[in-house]
């Protein structure tokens, strides 16, 4: 077993761990905005590390996996922000613990 | 074919049927469109599992992206609720 | 090496011009209106070269991709294909000439490109020898006619277009499923190859795809339970399009039904059902036409009735009946095209589609009204005209149908002809009634196409027996399936 395989497995394990975290976060967090954090941020990280892990294990698809990871980095935040924005526009309720609403402050000016 | 892949594709097909039924039943047309797009995406996965990547690609690009966009535009131009009973 | 008698050209030439005209349309919008005219003229040249061979009894083939059927798509023209494709392009030529002066509503360039595609698709259906090709051409045909029916963008034309779209798409999917089932049975899509293979297939496995394909085509062919789009679509469309839909689209769909029924499938098992459907179509169409106040709607229902008539004749299933059916098809296409074109002129002159508003029109615009009368008389089947001989032939063959149904249909066809005569007579009477209403004088350019069509009808009327002999040849060639099969497959078994 080469060193790349070990690194690959480690990365895939990390990716799976992040997926698990985001799943727990989706269930446990109180409102849409915090849940979207779990659904986008940690999922992005999980996806990237598992894809690159697979790429390290099979060298012929390494370049493809890096390109894929780049695409995920580029697109996931955009869709996440668009979703959250849509949620804000339809006035999805916030949790009581929210202390600051920067968007409202900016719009209010 | 691998038995797990077979089971998985059957699972996806059942999910697709559920999504289509939901798309018919739901009152909010926007939600119906989204259910339909989801069904399309699942079908394209099934195509991939059945080793038809060409069809899967067209289904994903046209069924799940373009058609959905066109339907959303149509919903936006008309009424969002399904009043007809 | 270049052989102009190649049926592929009939599809490729229109496509070439269609793609070319979308490029030049932003710059030279004025030129686009001549495109359908050029296209159908070029097609007619090709048809001439094909016709020289076809009339000597050979079947002209056009292969694609340089290989032999059944592995590649083939277009085959026998006498039946030839007469249909000739009709499509003659009518396409004359109607597009009419459209040049008739269409004023924007965007005219897109209208003419869509019309080119309509001509292309009708020609394609009528020459192809491949079942999946029928589906593809059918899709082009229905999509282009959807656009053209809804072209005026008024409320009723959008509504009619929507009805048409829904039914047409449904029909398309039925057709596709039928073709898929056929492919699952036989593993091939070439019509001749399917026909040779279907002999080894059970009757139930054959029935289901046949019924699916039949209903898919019957929507476009306006057979009885599936024609609710037609009475809305024809009045709502611009008059040139109504003429094309009525004269060509319906006819090509019926042609496809004939080809699929006779050449591809075993023929005899489906006849009684087809006969009853056709009888109902005839009866429903003529009765409904009788009660219409709207001129174009009346003509649309009359189209349904006529379709029922020639499908009825075809479904008797003898050689004489197929011959009569094709002859009636020719008569209907030409005369109904004239009627719709003239109706377009009338509607433009008075601004309403109501028949009663036409009072006195015939006293102002004599030529137009006379053309209308001529075409209507030929459609009804009044003795000196061509329609008389075709209807006579149909009545003769109907008695061949076994049992009570034969006599019933004989009586019904006569009854339908009388009804047809009555409602057309009503229009004549109103046309030539005295009235002090003012109409615009007719635009002489618009009258040319219906005039030429009536001239064709007169020529047909002057030698009806030679036409009927030719249709008899057609029917003979159609019934002897093996000639078609062997010449398409080239000795392949």
């Amino acid at each position: 077993m080469g060193i790349n395989v070990i690194i690959g497995y480690t990365l895939m394990f990390i990716g799976a761990f992040f997926f698990l975290l985001s799943a727990i976060g989706l269930l446990r967090l109180p409102d849409l905005y915090t849940r979207m954090q779990a659904a986008t941020k940690s999922t992005t990280l999980g996806a990237i590390s598992s894809i690159i892990g697979i790429g390290l294990m099979k060298e012929d698809i390494l370049i493809k996996s890096i390109i894929l990871a780049t695409f995920i980095i580029l697109t996931a935040p955009i869709s996440g922000s668009a979703l959250i924005r849509a949620g804000y526009k339809v006035k999805s309720p916030m949790t009581d613990k929210t202390v600051v609403d920067k968007f409202k402050e900016k719009e209010g000016e | 074919m691998n038995i797990y892949i077979l089971i998985f594709s059957y699972l996806l097909l059942v999910l697709t049927i559920i999504l289509s039924i939901l798309a018919i039943h739901v009152k909010d047309l926007l939600a119906a469109v989204i259910f339909m797009g989801g069904g399309s995406l699942l079908v394209s996965l099934v195509f991939l599992l059945l080793q038809a990547p060409d069809v899967a690609m067209s289904e994903a690009a046209i069924g799940a992206a373009l058609t959905m966009a066109i339907y959303i535009v149509a919903v936006k131009k008309t009424e969002r609720e399904d009043n007809d009973d | 090496m270049v052989n102009l008698a190649n049926p592929t050209l009939l599809v490729v030439i229109p496509l070439f011009f269609a793609f070319l005209s979308i490029i030049i349309s932003p710059f030279l919008k004025k030129l686009i209106k001549f495109v359908p005219l050029i296209v159908s003229a070029l097609n007619l040249v090709v048809i001439y070269f094909i016709g020289v061979k076809v009339l000597y009894g050979s079947i002209v083939l056009g292969t694609t991709a340089g290989l032999n059927p059944p592995y590649v798509i083939i277009l085959a023209v026998d006498k039946l294909n030839f007469i249909i494709v000739l009709m499509v392009n003659v009518l396409g030529f004359l109607i597009s000439f009419y459209n040049i002066f008739y269409m004023k509503e924007e965007p005219t360039d897109k209208f003419h490109i869509l019309f080119t595609l309509l001509i292309m698709a009708s020609s394609w259906i009528s020459i192809t020898g491949d079942l999946f090709n029928v589906f593809v051409a059918f899709e082009v045909l229905s999509l282009s006619s959807f656009g053209l029916v809804g072209y005026m963008r008024s409320k009723d034309s959008i509504e009619a277009g929507f009805k048409y779209v829904v039914q047409g798409i449904l029909a398309g999917s039925l057709l596709l499923i039928g073709v898929v089932l056929i492919y699952a049975q036989t593993g091939t899509l070439n019509m001749a190859h399917i026909a040779t293979k279907l002999d080894y297939v059970g009757s139930l496995e054959k029935l289901v795809p046949y019924v699916l394909i039949f209903f898919g085509l019957a929507v476009e062919g306006a057979l009885f339970p599936l024609n609710s789009w037609l009475p809305d679509a024809h009045p709502a469309a611009p008059s040139g399009i109504s003429a094309m839909l009525s004269g060509i689209v319906t006819t090509t769909a019926i042609y496809a039904i004939i080809r699929v029924t006779v050449t591809v499938f075993n023929y005899s098992a489906f006849i009684p059902y087809l006969f009853i459907i056709a009888l109902l179509t005839l009866f429903f169409g003529e009765i409904a036409a009788f009660f219409q106040k709207d001129l174009k709607r009346m003509l649309a229902y009359s189209t349904i009735g006529q379709t029922g008539l020639f499908v009825l004749a075809f479904s008797v299933g003898t050689q004489a009946s197929i011959s009569a059916s094709v002859a009636q098809m020719v008569n209907h296409s030409f005369s109904k095209a004239v009627l719709f074109l003239v109706a377009g002129i009338m509607i433009e002159a008075q601004g309403s589609r109501n028949i009663d508003d036409l009072k006195g029109f015939g006293r102002v615009n004599i030529l137009t009204s006379i053309l209308f009368v001529f075409a209507a008389l030929s459609l009804i089947g009044v003795p000196p005209f061509f329609g008389f001989f075709t209807k006579l032939a149909i009545l003769q063959t109907l008695l061949d149908f076994p049992g009570f149904l034969g006599y019933l249909s004989f009586a019904l066809v006569l009854f339908a002809a009388i009804i047809e005569g009555v409602y057309f007579y009503r229009v004549f009477k109103i046309l030539f009634e005295k009235s002090d209403k003012n109409f615009q004088a007719e635009n002489p350019w618009l009258v040319i196409s219906p005039f030429i069509l009536v001239l064709i009808l007169v020529i047909l009327s002057s030698r009806p027996m030679s036409v009927l002999n030719f249709t008899n040849d057609i029917a003979n060639q159609l019934i002897q399936r093996t000639i078609y099969l062997t010449s398409v497959l080239g000795g392949l078994k």
Partner: protein
């Protein structure tokens, strides 16, 4: 409620009938002699690594020409039905946020690149002109969603569309004039798995890809037109 149950039972009966009927059918092996011919002869006759592409573009290329025309007709029909003429309307959409705008700008060229890659490698890898074209169109869709003032230059898109279609027809006609049969293979097959292999497939798929992409973009433009109509429809 009873009506729903009746409908449900009815649908179940239909499904059962179809299932029983279809179980008589045997898809696959011994009836597919045409399909077998394709599998055996694709590489020597066409030089394409992807058999699906060789069937769609070579053996049944005439059908594909028809499918291209179907899309062409659909785009024209939409353009006719959504024709605005003089009274152009303009409504403002909700403005997208900063992230979407910048992100779209970054991603858009990559989407175009991926689409071009897919339709240029149609004869080697899965995919082809239709898929690549659809992908390109989704790129334009993204632009429309992100920027409210987007409007494509219809004249150029018509040019691309027409040229794509003409490529197909002219290559077919070349086959007709040189080998006497429409769409005959007039280009050398090349070595298998090379980009420049597969004879006429590569240029045809490039044409189809560009055509489908521009056509679908035109449809999107027409549909968005009522919401935010800038110049579309007014192609004088």
């Amino acid at each position: 409620m009873i009506r729903k149950i009746v409908y449900g039972v009815f649908i179940l009966i239909i499904i059962a009938a179809i299932a029983i009927f279809m179980s008589n059918y045997k898809f696959g092996v011994d009836k597919m002699d045409v399909g077998k011919y394709y599998l055996d002869n694709t590489v020597p006759q066409t030089g394409a690594a992807n058999v699906v592409t060789s069937v769609t573009l070579f053996y049944r290329g005439f059908d594909t020409l028809g499918e291209v025309t179907v899309l062409f007709t659909a785009a024209l029909g939409v353009a006719v039905l959504y024709f605005m003429g003089e009274n152009k309307r303009k409504q403002k959409l909700q403005e997208s946020n900063f992230v979407t705008k910048i992100g779209t700008r970054v991603v858009f060229p990559f989407i175009l690149l991926t689409g071009a890659y897919i339709f240029m490698h149609g004869h080697l890898t899965p995919g082809g002109g239709f898929q690549g074209g659809a992908l390109i169109a989704t790129g334009f869709l993204l632009l429309y969603l992100a920027y409210e003032e987007t409007s494509i230059d219809r004249k150029k898109f018509y040019l691309v569309e027409g040229l794509g279609g003409l490529t197909y027809v002219i290559i077919g006609l070349l086959g007709f004039f040189m080998k006497g049969s429409f769409l005959a293979n007039v280009l050398p097959n090349g070595t298998l798995f090379d980009l420049l292999s597969g004879g006429i497939m590569l240029p045809i798929y490039i044409g189809v890809g560009l055509k489908v992409g521009s056509e679908l973009s035109n449809i999107i433009d027409d549909l968005m037109c009522e919401v935010k109509c800038e110049e579309a429809g007014g192609e004088e």
